[in-house]
Amino acid sequence: MSGTNTGRTNRVSRDPGYVSVTEHPPVGRIPRNPGTPLDLALVRAIRVNRSAVERRAATIPARRSVKKEWQAGWLLRAITLMDLTTLQGDDTEGRVRRLCGKARRPVRADLLAAMGMSDVPLTVAAVCVYHAYVETAVRALAGSGIPVAAVSTGFPAGLGPFETRVAEIGLSVAAGAAEIDIVVTRRHILTGDWVALYDEVRTFREACGGAHMKAILATGELATLTNVARASMVAMMAGADFIKTSTGKEPVNATLPVGIVMARMIRAWHEQTGHLVGFKPAGGIRTAKDALTWLAMMKEELGDRWTHPDLFRFGASSLLGDIERQLEHHVTGRYSAAHRHPVA
């Protein structure tokens, strides 16, 4: 790795990561995380200092700023990392089809052209829905290559009968979901019952079969950052392909301190086992500025390899709209309006 590291030159240069992009499998081709047996000593040794993490979180947006062409490029990347999501009680097939249309064409063609991106097939990373709309989404996205993710296992609280939660996974996979976002039983974490948490996630992972599993930890309900870190580690031991912050239904969703802690656990997991696990913050990420901050955090804490959709996703419903407005501002120099962009 080499290159000059200076803000003085205007040259766009690749920043050295913790680990070089080239040392990892190419995007979209990484082996799945097989997990390991539960290592309780390791889990219990994890400690997180909240104040220090919060200080780090506060300086990331202050230390890193991306402007002009760089910002536009980063925002376009953010779109490709998006799990475009609708998880409302009043969802209908029509609503889901509309969302899928937006997933295929997230940005107006004239804006892409203005940014020299016409020949890049730009789509979001996935569409995320309840089980009831998996088939609708799969049909609507046919031929696009965009996977459908289903929230599962009694989302959002995860307190239904264990058997039905496991069965739900199988049904969603059968319906065509390529990704399953499971929720864990928070009780296991709050009571420190790591064995129960491990067994639960292991079972879910087996039920997923070939579908990728994202383990939602509902960090807003875990009380401490140390709990977040330990739960992250157990979920990875149990074979999670992604760890995810929130359902979007907790009172507190994805916060940057939580994100930093989870990213550091993914890094530790990689150092210990060589396996690459992805990260998905969800809920509360609404602005283009938020997206840039999260990307900067991933780049700093985990490195460039974790800024691609196979290892990083944003769970978001309203983020795209703000990014579109910022992109138009970049192109025209004028502030934009929501109605100038097609709704999701």
């Binding site: 290159g3 803000g7 200080r55 991106m117």
Partner: protein, 790 residues
């Protein structure tokens, strides 16, 4: 626009420049040539020097090299402004300080940009740290001005203050100096560093804008010569300096015997202690804040990482990975972590020390990327395989260079942390509160940060132990540095007050009567010991009659006494305040039992009825016994989720030169508060009345006072003062003697920069020796920052 695509594909950092247009406009407004700012006026520029942008080498402006005459004018202006400024009262001054704070906020971005241009620090730091702290300092001290009369009764401003500040935090150091001085009612002449005078000059502009009273703040620019003229000026009442230990030492020497009050904030080689239960990822960010903040040009930079051996390799790996992610470059780029080194001289010194470190065999690691070749840059550097004996482990490098060493146990961590001449700050990382709070008091440093580092606030005192200087800046403790207690005129102490001092002549029979056969020994380490010299000095009463002899102590006795004092002090300072209090009461009890005997002894020594002096000495025992468990610390309200504990700690071993007058009362008045606070003392008693003190050791012996806490070395003051004041393991020297002796003690104190308390005026030991003033001399405040959060 093709770059959008590259940025999309590769996600690189791009440039994020902060505009310097307004800063350059401001420079142009002054024609890029500055005079000094004296008495509310800009002077015509005289002989000038060039101020450069270290990131590009370009010339920013010319500033005036102020001459001795310029300094005279400035001090005169400050003197003339003093009565008016004091007449404003606390509230009036509070309004002006508040106006400054608001003024700083109004031009915060301009000041940030000028600071980054001039100093080379990243705009992220000047914008988010330096300038907000400047505003905070002025507004916090507007509060102290408001509360001055109520909170510091009986105190008054010192007068005209000379302030010399460094280049690493130019405007922040200005605020640390000016805000408390002004709040207390002083007027100032301040000299910014010659590398970085611009924000101070912009600050002068701000004063102009808000119509600040002329003469209260005067700013003179220039190099060390200007500084020398300023601190040496006869009409200056106090000197406050922040900078290198060498210059601080020179200032202490130059001001010896001048009576100028002095605070020095000097260098450091601060330990950064990592225990094996720490949150290591957070530790890594802590190291970033410790040594890659401000290019490592921070007096309290955590430049010595001490890590538990078992996790050293893991930490090293994590640190290296993090270092790869740091960005070095243009200070005005908003996404840069490390900016430019302030000057070629500094860069050369860093380079030289790093080369020397490599030559000594340490492993030097730097990130794989290169720093910009134009401008003054140095890459973040980590040394491993370093031993405490290595030069880079001892010398302050003052650059982005950190050394890493290991320890086995927490005791060893403390030992290594304290294995330095400095004592400015320390950082402790552990998730175990028992461990952290055990170690914090044991590290000799003015500031201890637990699980954080380089946290500053106006409400918390900052300053050093040992050769990191003395005095505190910030908080209530910092206000005292700019105040003194009001008292009436005090006469200067005359040598031996007209009484024949003891000499080394060998005595014989007197008046045909045999001498009273009583030769007390020295009292060292709780034992009565014969003086090393084997000589004694006769002591005569007021009537000239020989009352006896005392041992003639010499430098070896001083050496032994200091050694004994250190041994005892460790345990004594850790005994509970209640127990110390009990011992002091017991001393009073035993003194009371022998009151008549002491009164008679004193009568024969002084020729006066001395029952009152003995009675007062007994009262002193009660006073300081009472204070022993009541001189509380404080919890400062620093603006983060945190407790900042201000703990008064013992200074260590204090050398006490007792005055000739009031032999017993002065001795008890000085020694008892010192030991009440947990210090040990080596006392040279009154030359005229040593017998009153040697009798006293029998009282001490019967009062459960651990041996070595009080050591008494009798003899000739001219033989004992120098070895005591010059001893590098004595932590403070209290000299109550003639002006010449005080001057000598202060001159000799510079070897280890021991604290000095010198009084050559006569204080009334009866009415004027009981306040917290003595406790402030007997303690130093350590601020322990403890952030919390589950």
């Amino acid at each position: 626009m093709t770059d959008v695509r590259t940025a999309f594909e590769e996600l690189p950092w791009g440039p994020a420049p902060e505009s310097a247009a307004q800063a350059r406009e401001w420079l142009e407004k002054h024609g890029r040539r500055f005079g000094t700012y004296v008495d509310g006026q800009w002077t015509t520029p005289g002989e000038t020097f060039t101020v450069r942008d270290p990131a590009t080498g370009t010339e920013l402006a010319l500033a005036t090299q102020a001459t001795a005459e310029d300094v005279d004018t400035a001090v005169e202006a400050a003197r003339a402004a003093l009565p008016g400024w004091q007449a404003l009262g606390g509230h009036g001054r509070a309004r002006w300080l508040y106006a400054i704070a608001r003024g700083v906020q109004r031009r915060s971005r301009l000041l940030s940009v000028i600071e980054s241009l001039d100093n080379g620090k990243p705009i992220r730091e000047s914008r988010d740290i330096d300038i907000p702290l400047v505003a905070r300092h002025f507004s916090h001290h507007a509060g102290w001005a408001q509360l001055l009369e109520a909170e510091f009764p009986g105190a008054e401003a010192v007068g005209v203050v000379a302030q010399v500040i460094p280049w690493n935090f130019p405007l922040l150091m200005l605020s640390w100096k000016i805000a408390p001085a002004l709040a207390a009612g002083n007027t100032v002449v301040l000299k910014p560093a010659e590398y970085t005078p611009l924000t101070a000059l912009c600050f002068a502009d701000l004063l102009d804008d808000i119509g600040f009273p002329p003469g209260v703040i005067n700013i003179v620019t220039g190099d060390g010569r200007t500084g020398q003229a300023l601190v040496g000026h006869d009409d200056v009442d106090k000197v406050a300096f922040t900078g290198s230990t060498d210059v601080g030492r020179a200032i202490r020497g130059a001001t010896a015997g001048s009576g100028k009050k002095l605070t020095l904030e000097l260098g450091g080689k601060s330990p950064f202690v990592v225990f094996d239960d720490a949150d290591l990822d957070s530790v890594v960010e802590g190291v970033v804040d410790a040594i890659w903040f401000n290019q490592g040009q921070v007096c309290c930079a955590g430049s010595r990482i001490l890590v538990a051996e078992g996790i050293a390799e893991q930490l090293t790996t994590k640190l290296r990975a993090r270092m790869e992610k740091l960005r070095v470059g243009s200070p005005l780029d908003k996404a840069v972590d490390v900016g430019a080194i302030v000057d070629r001289v500094q860069l050369d010194r860093i380079t030289e020390l790093v080369e020397q470190g490599k030559t000594e065999g340490a492993t030097c690691w730097q990130p794989s990327w290169r720093v910009p070749t134009e401008g003054l840059f140095f890459p973040p550097t980590l040394f491993t395989d370093v031993t405490p004996a290595a030069m880079i482990a001892q010398e302050e490098i003052f650059g982005p260079v950190v050394v890493l060493m290991t320890f086995r146990t927490h005791e060893e961590a403390v030992e290594l942390a304290n294995d330095t001449r400095y004592g400015l700050a320390a950082s402790i990382w552990s998730e175990n509160i028992n461990l952290a709070l055990d170690v914090a008091p044991k590290i000799k440093a003015g500031t201890v940060w637990i699980n954080c580092t380089n946290a500053f606030d106006a409400a918390s005192g900052f300053g050093g132990y040992r050769e990191s200087g003395y005095g505190r800046e910030g908080g209530r403790e910092g206000m005292w540095e700019y105040l003194r207690l009001s008292h009436g005129e005090r006469a200067e102490r005359v040598a031996h007050a007209g009484v024949t001092p003891p000499t080394a002549e060998s005595g014989g029979a007197d008046n045909g009567l045999p001498a009273i056969d009583r030769t007390p020994k020295l009292y060292i380490g709780g034992k009565q010991v014969r003086p090393d010299s084997g000589y004694a000095i006769p002591i005569r009463g007021s009537d000239g009659a020989r009352l006896g002899e005392v041992g003639r102590g010499n430098r070896k006795d001083i050496r032994n006494a200091v050694e004994a004092a250190h041994k005892a002090q460790k345990g004594w300072s850790r005994t509970t305040a209640h127990n110390r209090s009990q011992v002091l009461y017991y001393i009073g009890e035993n003194l009371s039992a022998r009151a008549d005997e002491f009164a008679e002894r004193l009568r024969r020594l002084t020729g006066r009825d001395s029952r009152a002096e003995v009675e007062l000495a007994i009262r002193r025992c009660f006073t300081w016994a009472a204070w022993a468990d009541k001189y509380d610390g404080a919890v400062h309200h620093t603006p983060m989720r945190n407790v900042t504990l201000a703990m008064p700690e013992a200074i260590g071993v204090i050398g006490v030169i007792c005055p000739d007058e009031s032999p017993l009362l002065a001795f008890t008045s000085l020694v008892l508060p010192a030991i009440a606070m947990g210090n040990a003392v080596v006392v040279v008693p009154s030359a005229l009345g040593p017998l009153a003190v040697t009798d006293f050791y029998q009282v001490l012996e019967t009062s459960d006072l651990p041996g070595g806490v009080v050591n008494i070395v009798t003899g000739l003051r001219e033989e004992l003062l120098a070895p005591l004041a010059g001893h590098d393991d004595v932590n403070a020297i209290w000299t109550h003697a003639t002006r010449a002796e005080c001057a000598e003690a202060e001159r000799l104190s510079t070897g280890n920069m021991k604290r000095t308390w010198s009084e050559w005026t006569l204080r009334d030991w009866v009415t004027d020796a009981e306040g917290t003033e003595l406790l402030r001399h007997a303690t130093q405040v350590k601020n322990i920052w403890v952030p919390y959060g589950a």
